[in-house]
Symmetry: C2
Subunit: 201 residues, 2 copies
């Protein structure tokens, strides 16, 4: 069928490796030195490639950021999937604990990177392709909540994710002890407490 077929599958091994190197370098720079030091020259040097190579695989600096956001989002989604594997029969609190622990672990591994990616995701997300990837995670969480009979799974998924993110970001370098349990407590309250609870004097 292909009238103009490439004569052979062009070896993508090298280039794929270069792309990986660039993303790895970008991640390390963001984690270790912050967003301000994240520039094309630094990334190229850390990756062991020239600046030109970056622009061979990415249309611009922001595209590297987008790729990083997507990669990390996919990894996190995979972690969530693992945490939820076989958790259908667990009681709500136990299942929530597995979810929250996955989130805490993910953010703990590279806290600065995770924070920066959250911020950049918002900045780049206005009208780009980033949202699609991130919404996969939200959809997975919403499905879990739906199984549990939560009234408004989509909104609840968003709220719980934002809640956990906020608490983790703020507490990681302050009071990390028992953080998972604290978050689970709040999540349980959000999910189980009725609209007007605890009114008595």
């Amino acid at each position: 069928m292909t009238a103009i077929a490439p004569r052979k599958p062009p070896r993508q091994n090298r280039s794929q490796q270069t792309v990986t190197d660039i993303l790895e370098a970008a991640a390390h720079i963001l984690e270790d030195r912050g967003l301000a030091k994240f520039n094309t020259n630094a990334v190229a040097e850390r990756a062991g490639v020239s600046i030109g190579s970056i622009y061979q695989y990415f249309p611009g600096k922001d595209a590297v950021m987008v790729a990083l956001v997507r990669r990390e989002a996919l990894r996190f989604e995979r972690d969530l999937e693992v945490a939820l594997a076989g958790a259908e029969s667990l009681p709500l609190e136990a299942a929530l604990t597995r979810l929250v622990r996955a989130a805490v672990d993910h953010q703990s591994a590279q806290p600065n990177l995770a924070r920066i990616l959250d911020i950049e995701e918002r900045r780049l997300g206005i009208g780009t392709e980033v949202e699609a990837t991130t919404q996969g995670t939200a959809a997975r969480l919403a499905a879990f909540l739906d199984q549990r009979g939560v009234t408004d799974p989509a909104i609840a998924a968003l709220d719980l994710a934002n809640m956990a993110r906020g608490m983790i970001d703020g507490a990681l370098d302050a009071d990390p002890a028992d953080l998972t349990r604290r978050i689970v407590r709040a999540a349980l309250g959000y999910l189980t407490l009725g609209s007007q609870a605890a009114g008595g004097p």
Copy 2:
């Protein structure tokens, strides 16, 4: 007493007004055009002053940011104080609702500004004077929680603040309806649920 007294009180009216203009311009630029467009030239133009004037009252660009963070933190603290005035006799949920509503209102007024200031506060807070101002708000919240007999008021104050901030930031431009009630539910769960609740099958 004053051996070397200034011969008269130097009129601070003009300069005070210039400082206010600069801060107001900075706030508007951050809210309307984002952190990337926040540069000295833009601030000076928006404020109707020259670039030199900025450097007459601030040692650098970051100092403008710090001043903005402090101003907004003070305003928020004042809002919290108002919300808590006469709330001692209210039941926990009602008092929490007043607190959360104050936070939601504050972030809703200038959501982008609030988000950016949160981020910049963290970036600038490493070793500067910003922390002192922000910790005032946390201390006020901790005192409220202490009155209610909360076990670990300092940590709880931090957790609740981070929780609310995360949920508000994420939901403001998605599902603002009932946001206050949703946050209160999570906060109530955090505060009232025992360490190991809801275990039964």
